[in-house]
């Protein structure tokens, strides 16, 4: 009986981990589009990283908040933008997890209609912390035909 309960608790915990990770990633877009820099940064661990492959890596929450507060992102918000993150495929291994999925940035174009601004591959490495699951590393690469994006999308 106890064995059966132990097994059920493990299965529950696995489902809860996946649910929490999926929800964490689904929170990024709304927070980014509403300009909540501190809340975006708090999705990462204290020394978490956001790497745009081949371009730059923001390290730590202050740097990540800085991306949201910076002129590029603030310009996008003022113009009208949506950071849409597609469903992710998730693999949990103890206190680490990997999630892979697309992100698409849509924005209001000069003609007033919407246009597709960026389409990227994302590979998220997540860690279990005392505050719950947090992003340890997010790697992002544009799906413009470069090999980097295909590597991020490759099987877990």
């Amino acid at each position: 009986m106890h064995d059966r309960m132990d097994a059920m608790e493990r299965r529950l915990a696995t489902l809860e981990d996946r649910e929490e990770i999926r929800n964490l990633i689904a929170t990024y877009g709304p927070l980014a589009d509403s300009g909540k820099a501190e809340a975006v940064a708090a999705l990462w661990t204290a020394d978490g990283e956001y790497e745009v492959v081949g371009f730059a890596t923001a390290r730590g929450r202050a740097a990540i908040a800085g991306l949201i507060e910076g002129p590029t992102h603030q310009g996008l918000i003022a113009q009208g933008c949506a950071h849409v993150l597609a469903p992710v495929t998730v693999e949990v291994d103890g206190d680490r997890a990997t999630a892979i999925g697309h992100s698409v940035v849509l924005r209001t174009g000069e003609s007033g209609g919407f246009e597709v601004y960026r389409v990227s591959a994302n590979r998220w490495t997540l860690g279990r912390t005392s505050e719950g699951w947090r992003v340890v590393h997010r790697a992002n690469a544009m799906l413009d035909g470069n090999e980097a994006a295909r590597l991020l999308m490759s099987p877990l």
Copy 2:
């Protein structure tokens, strides 16, 4: 032992609530694109509301079905359209829940290719009813740079 089972049942119920809410929202797009007006309306409570912020609010199932049956939506369907709803971030609090996420309407353009027609923020308020979770209020605002959309996307 009973306490342990009680705790597991509560955790299961939480996961089931989140699963049901996610599935309910994922059903909207396919139903809207196939023109199933009654089925769309049945996602809402009897007196549920669909508010397009700053524009109009449809109150009750007949009014919501009317949006699907109306000439604007029927024209989109005939032309070719997709109401794509991104993953939502969900917070459940007893018999109420809030979900936040993007919606994107794509349509066939005049040149025959597809174009991005609308990109919106959505904030869903849901309630537990005897029929399961239903939409009490959906607020939608275009992400065209206006403040209303950013408010809908702000933290739960």
Copy 3:
């Protein structure tokens, strides 16, 4: 007590089925965009089918891998593309399941920016196998105003 545990195990199994199916479908896009033909094919059963309604049906894993290895798909990858699959609504009935949702193919256009290439309705039929859930049949139809896509999107 045993009845209560039996009930919990059934509820857990239902959640696990839904989680696994959602994850399987979320894996398609990243695998397709990174050109992993064998891994894409392995999402299907040995004799699974990928039907593009009114056009052609690929039957069996070799044929499905062939779609990824073929010149059309390889050209898209080289040019830069994203096969973005929206959240699905899922219904599980014993060892069979149905999932419905949109897919959107984005690609780098001639001008260097991204464009929406295809927007489709998808109806997935899945089966429980000894290896886990696999795709038995995926039907895909462009949402360009044709009736076929609306039928795929119709209620489960």
